[in-house]
Each structure stands twice: as structure tokens, then as C-alpha cells.
């Protein structure tokens, strides 16, 4: 028994080159310019922001024209994170929300800050807080978080179709 090999270590290393693809690239370039660029489905005409993997899954087709959507948006739903975990960089409790940017037909996830977690609500209007321009990368991380604009809440009917 004592001489049996019970476990071995066999490290595996493979390098991969990831490609965003031509359709997502225009979105990433937009982020380098401080803009939110989504894409319209040529079949169902919905505006995807971000443009997923360049396709409309509902129609099974490639997304078409670029559509720049608004900087401001509406919280359609959210959750309050109370659980600490390894590598957590944000002080709990904090809010992760689905935000429907003005002119987009799909919500996107982002962080909500500059407001107590207990104050966040569905329909709340929010705007992005961008990192300093010199730190911009082709990444949604250029936006540190979203914060309330102080506008009146969006009516429920305006985002009910997202729920």
C-alpha cells in the first residue's frame, strides 16, 4: 500500500488566440471612444447592446448595422450582493443590475454605485461613470459603474417587455 502511486501531477498548458469577430469589434472600438455601439438584427430589428457574439439567437442570423445607443438607461431588475467571496473588490452590500440603455432592446449587466443598496429600485434612471480617458481599453470595464441620474423613474410599461 505504502508504495502505491495515489496521485500524479500532469500540468497542461495551451495558448489560445481569441477573436472577437468583426461584429463585436465595432462595439469594442466604440468603447475605446466612450460610446455604446450596439447592432440591429436585420430580421427582427431589435438592437443588441452589447452585440453578443455578432448574432441574433432568435432569428439565427448575423447582426447588421451599427446603432449607437444612449449613455443613460433604466434599471429593469437588480440584486443586492451581501455575500463575501474570494477576490471580491467591491465593498458589500452592493447592487448588480440589468440596465436597458436608451435605444437598446436588450438589457446589460453592470454595477450600481453612489447610492445605498436599499434605495435602488426597478425603473431607476442611471448613467455611466467612465474611467479617466487615458485608461480606456476595448472593454466594458471602461465604465466603472452606473449611478442614479436623479430623473423621475421610468414607467413600468417602458421596460415591462424586458422582464
Amino acid at each position: 500500500m505504502s508504495d502505491d502511486v495515489l496521485r500524479i501531477r500532469t500540468p497542461i498548458g495551451i495558448k489560445y488566440q481569441y477573436s472577437a469577430g468583426p461584429r463585436v469589434s465595432s462595439h469594442l472600438i466604440g468603447l475605446m471612444e466612450g460610446r455604446f455601439v450596439g447592432k440591429r438584427c436585420p430580421s427582427c430589428h431589435l438592437v443588441y447592446m452589447p452585440p453578443r457574439n455578432g448574432t441574433c439567437a432568435k432569428c439565427g442570423c448575423l447582426l447588421g448595422e451599427d446603432v449607437e445607443v444612449g449613455q443613460r438607461g433604466t434599471i429593469t431588475t437588480f440584486c443586492v450582493v451581501n455575500v463575501p467571496f474570494l477576490g471580491q473588490t467591491i465593498k458589500i452590500p452592493y447592487v448588480a443590475a440589468t440596465i436597458l440603455l436608451d435605444g437598446a432592446d436588450m438589457g446589460m449587466q453592470h454595477l450600481i454605485q453612489e447610492v445605498e443598496a436599499t434605495e435602488v429600485r426597478m425603473g431607476m434612471r442611471v448613467e455611466p461613470v467612465w474611467r479617466p480617458r487615458e485608461e480606456w481599453q476595448p472593454s466594458m470595464e471602461n465604465v466603472l459603474y452606473f449611478r442614479p441620474t436623479g430623473e423621475p423613474d421610468a414607467p413600468y410599461e417602458s421596460y415591462a417587455g424586458q422582464l
Binding site: I8, G21, P22, N53, G54, T55, L62
Partner: protein, 350 residues
Amino acid sequence: MRDVAIIASAQAVNTATTTATPVEMLIPVVNQVLANAGMARSDIGFWCHGSCDYMTGQPFSFVSAVDALGAWPPIIESHVEADGAFALYEAWMKIQTGEVDTALVFGNGRSSSGDINRILTLQLDPYVVGPLWPDDRSIAAMQARACLEAGVITERAMAQIAARNHHNALTNPVALRRGEHSVEQLLAAPLVASPLRELDCPAHSDGVTAVIIAAGDRARSLRARPAWIRGIDHRIESQNLGNRSMTTLPSAVIAAQKAGVANDKIDVAELHAPYTHQELLLTAALGLGESTSINPSGGALCANPMMSAGLARFAEAAARIMDGSADRALGHASSGPWLQQNLVCVLEGE
């Protein structure tokens, strides 16, 4: 058994690299095969996909392929972590159940995402062989060396295979590699993994293949001359290389027998043999003779899109039936080191 036939196919032009995402590569080919069949997405009863997450390095990357299908309203769909030809086998069985009459089968792979010769090492036994990191070419070269030493093949015969496939690929618009080479030129080329030379090895590529199969009268209504699947069989050999014959392919012999290859003359055979010596071994194992035209497409030597090259062989074999140039064709797909897995399909015109 229900009669099932291949009625349409489409392939992407094979490329050495691509910047498109896998799903962006899929959509034009799915659209093309539907157009070739005169069908709409709503006419497809079952969708079956072959791909491998090791190709992209992303767990569950195959899920995004469903985005190419327009899965709304919901569809019946499945996936095999293998070449699309094995997805075709599943789809054929699905039609046998009587649940559906049509299936769209597709396979795709982006070999350029990583070092494909190294990625293929990960299919080896992970305890004893894998940790030594032999790459795909080295494993294949061991087999070729054993066959040469045993007198089963010759280097000249290997060069003849390379010459014929690259010549045949001149008329294949989707091939990655093609050209006229004399046997002497090929034998004078440097060795890349002795005894293999560059053109003994597959032209790994980024590619997509899609095929539509249909049952009975549905097939007849969609295609004047469907390529009927008269026999199909899949056999696998041991994963342990030490247990394997290096000079024969017992699994291919059994698959050919079960698929009924020898029942009549085979006009055309499309063999998924990534290396030249493997085409020689397969030709012998399948019992193919002088009267069979082998790999009119140029085969995997001239375009080996991982997870789609086997299905491409089925597509090419079926095309010869559908265009009337052959009455009986063989499609073959393989997987694993030393042709560990063999799927043999006999196709006939009516």
C-alpha cells in the same frame, strides 16, 4: 429500418486563419445548406452539431452554436463532442426512431485558435502518454515508421497518395492546399517528423460543413437523386496505444463489414485519413480496389477542418451520388490517434 438519405450539403471555404467567431462562421453555411435543399429552418425536425471545446479553449463553447439555428420557437437539438460525421450518425438514429423525418447536421472547428498539433495531444491517455506531450505529427510518425519497417507501405506509395490528393484538390474550391507535385519532388522534400514530410500531414484549417438528411419520400421530394444511406457503422479501438496494432485497422475492417462495403462495387470513397500512410492503411482495411476513385476532393490532406473534415467526406461522397457520377459511394470519418475511431457509411443512388 427507415430509408434515410443525404439530400444536400454545404461547406465553408477552408482557411488557415479567420477572425470570425465560430458562430459567425456557421451561419452562412447553415443558410447555404438550407438554400441548397430548398428548405426553411422550420422544415428541420432535428439539429445535430459536432464540435470540440478544446478547439476554442472555452468550456461549453458549443452552446453558442445554437445561436446560428434560430432556436425560437424552441427546436429539437443535440451536440456531440466529436466530428460532425458522428452527429450525422446520431441524426440518422433519431430519424430511425420515427420522431422526425429531417435533420440538419453540422460540424465546425477553428483549428487556428491554438497549436492544433499540441491540442490534439490532449486526446491521449492522460496518465501515461499525455504527460510526455507527443504532438499529433509525432504520434502519426510512429505509426508510419512501424508500417514502413513492417513492409506494409513504402515511402514512394505515401508520396503517390500526397501527389494524387493535391492534384484532386485542384478542382475542389473549398480546399486549403492543392497543387501538382511529382513523386520525386515529394520524396526530395525535408522530413518534418520522420518519416513524414509536410505534404504527408493534414492541412489543418478553419472550416464548417453542413448536411441535411431526410427519410423516404420526404428525401425524394427534396432531391431528384438522394444519396441513400444503405449501411453505417462506428467502431472504436483501445485508447491504450500499447494495446493497438500499428500496422492494421481492425475497427475499420469491422465497420466496413457491418456497413456492407463489400456487397457491391464502390465507385467513389472519401476517406478521412489525415496522414498519407493512413490512407494506405484504410484502403486496405476497407477492401477498396483499383476500381474505386479515392478522395476526388483531395481529402483531409488538403483541408482538415477539425470536427468538420469527417462530415465533409460524407458530403463529398454524397455529392457524387446526387450528381449521378457515382452509383455507390463510401463516406468515412475518423477520430483519435492512429485512426482510433472509424465510422463507415455506404451511400447509393436509386
